[in-house]
């Protein structure tokens, strides 16, 4: 990746210290949430950039809801992207050879099977109700119940129940 010149003056004008701090603190988490849905790091990082741009346009960096907003946006934007990806065969081909596969060193049949499973999982997430799919993405990206509650604007006491329902729906959809 070619980086732009690191001119501190420009950086100071482009992004406030508060936003820079928020970006550094949350970037990995935002990418992680998107990656849980997309299984494609480059695409997850593109989604993360869009999410931060949206936040930057409309919200102060020190907003108390900043983290929750970013987490929620990451999940929804990734789900939106994975839905659109169905129409993009090129992307699908790229995913089939994604370096994220754990079967890189495995035999070709296992690699294909793993890739097909992964694609099916993404398709299931795309078909599921938005909140359930987002809940799974957030939970399996490692967010706590409290963080999920804040991101999806539900009561923390309801997260366990909602998560179980989402997992049940996921199981049914995945056969």
């Amino acid at each position: 990746m070619t980086l732009p010149a690191r001119d501190p003056g420009h950086i100071a004008r482009a992004v406030s210290p508060a936003f820079e701090s928020l970006f550094r603190a949350e970037y990995a988490r935002v990418v992680g949430i998107a990656h849980r849905v997309l299984a494609d790091q480059a695409e997850a990082e593109d989604v993360a950039q869009d999410v931060f741009i949206s936040f930057y346009r409309g919200h102060p960096a020190d907003a108390p809801y900043a983290r929750a907003w970013l987490h929620s946006a990451a999940a929804h934007a990734a789900l939106n992207a994975v839905r659109g990806r169905d129409r993009r065969s090129r992307r699908e081909a790229a995913v089939a050879v994604t370096p994220d596969t754990t079967a890189t060193e495995a035999d070709p049949a296992e690699t294909v099977a793993a890739s097909e499973t992964r694609e099916e999982v993404r398709a299931v997430l795309a078909r599921m109700p938005e909140r359930s799919a987002a809940m799974l993405a957030l939970r399996y990206a490692g967010l706590s119940y409290a963080e999920i509650a804040a991101a999806l604007d539900v009561r923390a006491s309801s997260v366990g129940t909602l998560l179980r329902r989402a997992e049940d729906a996921f199981r049914r959809e995945l056969r």
């Binding site: 406030s16 949206s54 919200h59 934007a77």
Partner: protein, 339 residues
């Protein structure tokens, strides 16, 4: 499938990211695209200018959706009429938010969530006896379908809605209070939006209704008053602003806490928000896709049950709607037979 298997199914290797590189990329994009952060400082008002079509796509979706929920959606389509139409899927969470904000409220009360809405010339629908009379009062030639399905019988009734104007004034206080009513915290209204005005004109419009008995307006609530076919035609609206720009307004409205990123992304994907009407379509309940009608691109909207469908299009400065219980091909045939 147990939890471990779900973990495996949803599991991916945790990505290793370089936040410094990512931040540099972000900063480069911000500079290259001239993206400005949200600001709270007052800026000089720009000179008054007219914005063709919609003042803000997001604003229309919010207002249109709210009005849909409060039962006066038709008014919105007649207020905001664009050069083209595009479907915007609304998720259940969007609808829930809008429902909380506007359920049971009338137009003024609902828009009061963001400021003060005042009709300067209110729409006053009235019934006339013929299409030629409707055309004369509206000031344009009202088109009618030349071919109808066998399910549509009898003569239509004709309604004319006068050219209407309204003013909407944004208010930071109203926004804050509306958010508080639904236990939310709204992002601060940028100072240059607070107090700014939108001047909206819509219509005139002609509505032709088949299947609704005479006197239907006075018999609201009667099941038999449900029409079998509604054909609407209206002049495209204009919306003026005394300061706030389309992009500023859109950015702020899309930053509302109840708006899903999915909806925001769909609205941001609209090429020209100043001339495109986003038609709100409940994602879980309706399908929509572009169609060619009368030689231009329009939009088909149907619910998943097949009970209701609509074709919406814009041509020659006029907005058209065909609504009824039809299949897609029937609805398109009606639309294409308009002469």
């Amino acid at each position: 499938m147990n939890d471990t298997k779900i973990e495996q199914a949803l599991g991916t290797t945790e990505p290793r990211v370089n936040a410094d590189e990512a931040l540099a990329r972000f900063q480069a994009r911000v500079q290259a695209e001239g993206i400005a952060p949200v600001v709270a400082l007052a800026r000089p008002r720009v000179t008054s200018r007219w914005l063709q079509g919609l003042a803000a796509a997001a604003g229309v979706v919010i207002v249109a959706s709210a009005l849909t929920l409060s039962g006066v959606a038709e008014s919105v389509l007649k207020i905001f009429e664009p050069k083209s139409v595009v479907a915007v899927p609304l998720t259940q969470s969007d609808l829930n938010y809008l429902g909380q904000a506007c359920a049971g409220l009338n137009l003024q009360e609902c828009m009061g969530a963001y400021g003060t809405f005042v009709w300067t010339t209110a729409p006053q629908p009235k019934e006339v006896s013929s299409r030629s009379q409707a055309s004369a009062q509206a000031g344009f030639n009202a088109l009618a379908p030349s071919s109808l399905p066998s399910s549509v019988i009898g003569d239509p009734r004709y309604g004319v809605i006068n050219r209407s104007t309204a003013t909407f004034t944004f208010s930071a206080d109203s926004t804050k209070q509306a958010a508080a009513r639904v236990n939310r915290t709204a992002p601060p209204l940028p100072a240059n939006i607070d107090g700014s005005k939108l001047l909206i004109t819509g219509g005139p419009a002609v509505v032709q209704i088949w299947g609704a008995p005479a006197g239907a307006p006075a018999s609201r609530g009667q099941a038999e008053a449900i029409p079998t076919l509604i054909v609407g035609q209206a002049k495209a609206p204009t919306v003026s602003s005394d300061g706030v720009t389309v992009d500023e307004l859109r950015s702020y409205l899309l930053s509302q806490p109840g708006i899903s990123p999915q909806l925001a992304a769909a609205i941001r994907a609209i090429g020209d928000p100043s001339s495109t009407l986003p038609v709100p379509v409940p994602a879980e309940l309706a399908i929509s896709h572009p169609v060619t009608v009368q030689g231009v691109q329009g939009l088909f909207v149907g619910d998943n049950t097949g009970i209701a469908s609509a074709v919406i299009w814009q041509k020659d400065g006029m907005m058209f709607e065909v609504i009824g219980s039809f299949t897609e091909s029937q609805a398109l045939a009606i639309a294409n037979s308009m002469r």
